[in-house]
Structure formats: C-alpha cells, structure tokens
C-alpha cells in the first residue's frame, strides 16, 4: 500500500496570503493585547513595564470609560436602528419603477461614498452656531428665534453627531436591502395576491422573512463599523464638549493620541470584547435559523 505523498504546493500557494494576514492582522492584535498589560506610555519611555491587569482595573475605576461605554451603546443603537429604518424605506422606494430611478439610485449613494472626514467637516459647518445653514433654515422657518449652538452644548451635541452617522449609513442599508429585494421571486407576491393578502401582509409575510439574512448580516456589519467609527465624531466635536460625544472608540483614539498606548489598547480590547458579546449570539441565531430553514 502506497502512502499518499504530501505535496508542498498547497502550503506554498497559501503562504503569501497567510503571511500577509499574520503581519497585518494577527501581529497588531497580539501586540495590542500585550501592550494592554503594560504601562506603555511613550511620554514616559523609561517606565514602560509589565503591569498585569493594572490598566484593566484602572478602566474599571475610570468614570470616563463607563460614560464612553454608555455613549457607545446609545450611539450604536440609535445610529444603526435609524439607518436600518430609513435605509429600508429608501430600498423599498428605489425598488419601484419610476422615471429617473437610475439617477436617484446613484445620488442616494453619495453619503456612503463620501469620506468620513469630509462628512465630519461638512456637518460641522451645517451645525455651526454662528453661520450654519441649519440655524439659518430654522430661523427662516420661524422654528427658533436665536441660533442654537448645536455642537457647543451637551444637550444637542450628541444628537447632532448621531444624526450625522444616520445620514451617512442610510445608503449602505438601502443598497444591501435593495439587492435582497431584487432577489425575491415575483411569484411569491403573485401567489399572495391570489390568496388576497394586503400590502401589510405581503410586507411582513414575504418581504421581511426573505430579507432576514441580509438584515442580519448588514446590521451586524454596521454595529461593528459604527461602534469603531472615529472619523465622523472626531471631525465634528473631537469628543467634546465636556466629553459629551466621546464614545469608546473616540476615547481610545484620544488616549492613543496622548501616547498612552497601554491604556488605549486596554480600552480597545474591552471594546472588542463588548462587540464580541453582541456578535457571537447574533451570528449563532443567524446560523441556527439557517439550519432550521434547510
């Protein structure tokens, strides 16, 4: 009996991709984990040493960490929910036939293809308390008498940044759901018509179940992206005023900027753990549903 000879080719062919992934993904992640156990502050390079869980205990006692975590939850929940709702509405609209549909579909993608830095700067001017177009419109409509410093007061700064992220993310949901909508066989709707289903029933009995997987995957992706998003908030408010728009990812960025890389890594790891706590059950539910539907 001949022993099957192992060919080196599969390993050689996979090696470049594997090495690249190890270099650009695994190495930084492992490095971040290691840094989170050190007093890795570049302002005090002579004091860098292993400190065990000290950074994690410090985070647990840091009121700004808890505040940022809470902000992150609100930021993600409100941002992703409204992106989904408005994105779904836009997808349904763009799935209908009307004159100029192609043009509208292209235009609706603009917020998604605009860089986050530019979005931050653009909305910073829109919200500007002295010269912003939003204030101008509201004054002209008679809804306010004096300009509102949207980004300068804590009560309005956070809703303003959430509004911006909603605006940015709607097209992504619309695009993904539109692709899903176009994959639903027309026969299902014809059969529903024959059975006398109304629009409400067609939507909840055919459209939503058919899009379940798309909704699951798209929402999960957006939860992760929005939770990790720094560019929009940083360019709008840098996390201020008075830390009122500082989500965990912005806090990580600010601490990293201040060169306290050990503490920044600790918070980044904690954020990743929180996201995993959302993503793992979410994916389990998705896979279970897929198994059951087979």
């Amino acid at each position: 009996m001949h022993k099957k000879k192992l060919s080196p080719w599969p390993y050689l062919l996979i090696a470049p991709a594997l090495i690249t992934i190890i270099a650009v993904v695994f190495f930084p992640v492992i490095n971040a984990i290691l840094m989170s156990f050190q007093s890795y502050d570049l302002r005090r390079p002579s004091q860098i040493r292993f400190t065990g869980l000290a950074n994690y205990f410090a985070a647990a006692q840091d009121p700004l960490f808890w505040q940022a975590l809470l902000k992150t939850i609100v930021w993600v929940a409100a941002g992703v929910w409204f992106q989904f709702v408005f994105g779904f509405m836009l997808a349904l609209l763009l799935n209908r036939k009307f004159l100029g549909r192609g043009l509208i579909r292209s235009i609706s993608l603009i917020p998604w293809v605009t860089p986050g830095v530019l979005i931050g700067l653009m909305w910073r001017w829109i919200f500007d308390g002295n010269y912003g177009v939003l204030n101008d419109l509201l004054v002209r409509l008679g809804l306010i008498r004096q300009n509102v410093p949207f980004l300068a007061q804590q009560s309005t700064a956070f809703p303003s940044v959430i509004l911006t992220i909603i605006w940015q993310g709607i097209p992504f949901f619309a695009l993904m759901l539109l692709a899903g909508l176009q994959g639903i066989p027309e026969e299902l709707y014809d059969a529903a018509d024959v059975d006398g289903a109304n629009a409400f029933q067609r939507f909840f009995m055919i459209t939503v179940p058919s899009l379940k997987n798309t909704i699951f995957v798209t929402t999960l992706l957006r939860i992760i992206w929005v939770a990790n998003s720094v560019d929009v908030i940083f360019n709008l408010t840098e996390g201020g005023p008075a830390y009122s728009t500082q989500t965990l990812s912005v806090y990580v960025f600010n601490k990293g900027n201040a060169l306290n890389l050990g503490y920044a890594s600790t918070m980044a790891i904690l954020l990743a753990l929180v996201l995993s706590m959302v993503a793992i059950p979410y994916l389990k539910t998705l896979f279970k549903a897929q198994e059951e539907s087979k």
Binding site: L42, N130, Q146, A152, E238, A242, N254
Partner: protein
C-alpha cells in the same frame, strides 16, 4: 627616493582634497516640516525655502512640507511620524513638546553646532536659557525662531459705539466685555459679543490671563485666587458676553467671529495682525491684557529642531541658522508679523514702527509659558477643553473644574 615620496604625498593630498570638495558639494536634500496659519504664510515659507536653495551655495535643497497646526496636534503628528521611522530632517517645533521628544531621544543636541556658530550672539542669551530649562538638561535641543505674545485685539468703532475706552485694569476689561455686548439693530437679538472666547484647544492661553489677573498661578490651580479667575471666565459666558458657541470655538472660529464683527474683542498674537488689518484697515487695534492682582500673558514660542534620524546634520543646521538669523528670519517675521529672535532684525524699521509689535513688546515682560511637563500635551488637547466646556455649560463648578485641571496637569 625623496622625490618619489613627495610626489606620492602630493598625489594623496590632491586626491583627498578632491574627495573633500566633492563630498562637500554633494547635493543634500533636507525635508522640513512646518505649519502656517493661512495660505499667505504657506506661500512665504515656500519662498524662503526656494531662496535658501538658490543662495546657500552648498548644494542643500530644502523641501518644505506643510502640516496643520490643529490646535497643537501637529506635535503629535510629528512624534508619531518620527517614532514610526519616518518624519522630516528638520521641523518647526514648540517648547512644550521638548520633554516628550527628548525622553525618546529624537532630537539632535545643538550644543556643538552653537559653539561654532558665528551668529550665536545675535540671539538674546535669556532665550537659550529658557530653552535649556524646558529640556530639563544643560543642553540646547531647539533652535530659536520667533515668539508671539498674546494680546487683545479690539475694534475702535465698536468701543466708540459702546462708549468704552481701552481698559487699563482687569476690572475695566470685564466691564468692557459687558458693555460691548450689544443689540446694534434693535431686533432684540445680540449682534455683537464683548469677548471672543476660545473654549476649544488652545484656549488655555488666553484663559491663563484670567487666572493670573485674580492672583492665581499654574503651580496650584486650586487656590481661591485661581478659582476666582476661572469664575470670571465662566461668568463671561454665562452672562452672554461671549458667543454661545464659545465652548467649541477654536482659532478659526474666534478669528472668523472677530472679522465678521460678531465679537468686539478677542485674544491672539501678532500672527493674525496682517489679516486683521486687511479686513478692517484702521478699525482694528490692540492692547496688552490688563493686570489685576497679577498679570500674565502667554508667550507663544516657535523653534526649529533637527531630528536625530537625519543623515545631514550640518546641512540641517545651516538651514535652521538661515531661519534664525539669516534672510529667512527677516522674511518670515515681516510676512507673519511675529516677533523676531534676531536682535538685528528686531531693529529694522518695519518692527520698530508696527503698532501690534509695540503691544507685543509691552506684554513681553510678563509673558510666560505653561509648565512644561509630560502631561502638558494631553492637558492642552483633551483635558483643558473638555473640563472648561463642562464648567462653561454649568456641569462643573469653578472649584471642581480647577480641581480636575490641577489633577490633569500635576497628577494630584
């Protein structure tokens, strides 16, 4: 035999001198980073670099690359670039960053270069002392370039309208902020705010004047005097004498508000004077921040450094010397209105007859800098703006805000 030996020696000497000359004339490129407050200053720096390239006669080519100041984030950008193995050969610099860069061994010690430099005495010796003190060593790591003393810009026409004269005391200044807040067209809305407050990054500099005016200082921010200064700052905002956007207003906003006539006074240095005169002509003037119990204004300093990663230290020093006492010094200070460090350039009529320069010089005796600690950069970029915003919007009392600022700066 002797002849042969002489011939060989001469041949060696000639060869060595040819090598030396060719090494000296070997083209060298120096990458220089800088920031500029407006496009005009950007163009000026490019021109200075071009002039230096054309005239240095040593084959040195400076490539000037601009990066935004961004309320101080420039220093962090530079640090990350250099730590990452990149960055420039030379860069514009602020003293406050010295501990960070020196602790990581990123700066070239300039002592040897200065010892041989013929123009060394053209710069005030006290400036070298300040620089040595900032580094925490007996060495000079940064090359002086220019200074800026903060003072108050005001609009004489608005002062006239409000019936206010130039404040001589701190109390008069606070009173002027109140009187200059006006509804000029009678529609029931405030059109002009007395004071263009800077609540975002960089605002700690004008804020410092309030703390000192009440008798406080930066060594202990929790003294009753320092808290009283903070309370004045809060009251200006709470009473509506500063624009409602002040907690998030940075450099661009305070200048835009002043230039658009939304504020009657604002605090900045001579670097803005040319733009102010372009906008208002004679309807803009300046006065030194008045004293109360104490008196202080921020001395902005700008230096240049040679990064240790450079392979051309001599050429880099040549360029920095050109900026410190050569043509580059005059050109930059004339274009930007900054206070020159070269005593020779200070004597030029342009500087002697400039009204903003006079106010800068008036403020110089009590101008100072913030404590240079390894916490200062984070304190300036994150802790100060967020804590002061909380105080301005009523989330923190003056005393609590000062406690947080003290902890952020001094760690206790």
């Amino acid at each position: 035999m002797k002849r042969k030996l002489i011939f060989v020696l001469m041949a060696i000497l000639s060869f060595a001198s040819v090598i030396a000359v060719s090494a000296q004339a070997k083209p060298v490129t120096i990458v220089h980073w800088y920031w500029a407050d407006n496009p005009k200053y950007s163009a000026e720096m490019q021109k200075i670099a071009a002039d230096f390239n054309a005239t240095n006669g040593k084959g040195i080519t400076v490539v000037a690359q601009e990066y935004p100041w961004d309320g101080g984030a420039y220093s962090e950008t530079l640090f990350r670039a250099v730590m990452g193995g990149g960055g420039p050969d030379t860069s514009s610099f602020k003293l406050t960053s010295t501990p960070l860069f020196a602790a990581n061994g990123l700066l070239v010690n300039l002592d040897e270069f200065l010892a041989k430099w013929k123009d060394k005495d053209k710069i005030e010796p006290s400036l070298y002392e300040t620089i040595r003190k900032a580094s925490g060593t007996k060495s000079v790591y940064v090359m002086p370039w220019n200074t800026q003393v903060l003072y108050v810009y005001y609009r004489p026409s608005l002062f006239k309208k409000a019936g206010v004269s130039v404040p001589k005391t701190y109390t008069e200044f606070l009173e002027a902020c109140k009187k200059l807040t006006m509804d000029t067209n009678g529609d029931g809305k405030i059109d002009v705010y007395g004071f263009g407050m800077r609540g975002a990054k960089g605002g700690q500099e004008p804020w410092g004047s309030f703390i000192w005016a009440r008798g406080g200082n930066f060594d202990d921010l929790t003294t009753p005097q320092a808290i009283a200064g903070m309370q004045d700052f809060i009251d200006l905002y709470k009473n509506g004498y500063a624009p409602p956007t002040a907690p998030m207003d940075g450099f661009n906003e305070i200048i835009a508000n002043f230039k658009s006539g939304k504020t009657a006074m604002t605090i900045h240095h001579i670097g803005s004077s040319i733009g102010m005169v372009e906008t208002f002509g004679d309807d803009v003037d300046a006065f030194a921040f008045p004293g109360g119990v104490g008196r202080w204004t921020s001395m902005g300093d700008t230096e240049n450094v040679i990064l240790k990663s450079t392979k051309n230290k001599e050429a880099a020093f040549e360029w920095l010397a050109y900026l410190a006492t050569g043509k580059g010094q005059e050109a930059w200070c004339v274009a930007t209105g900054n206070v020159p460090v070269s005593k020779e350039v200070q004597q030029l009529p342009f500087f002697q007859n400039n009204r903003f320069m006079k106010v800068s010089i008036e403020g110089a005796p009590y101008a100072g800098i913030f404590p240079i600690l390894d916490t200062t950069t984070e304190w300036i970029s994150t802790i100060w703006p967020n804590t002061v915003a909380a105080a301005l919007t009523g989330k923190l009392s003056a005393a609590d805000a000062m406690k947080q600022l003290q902890k952020g700066l001094w760690g206790k």
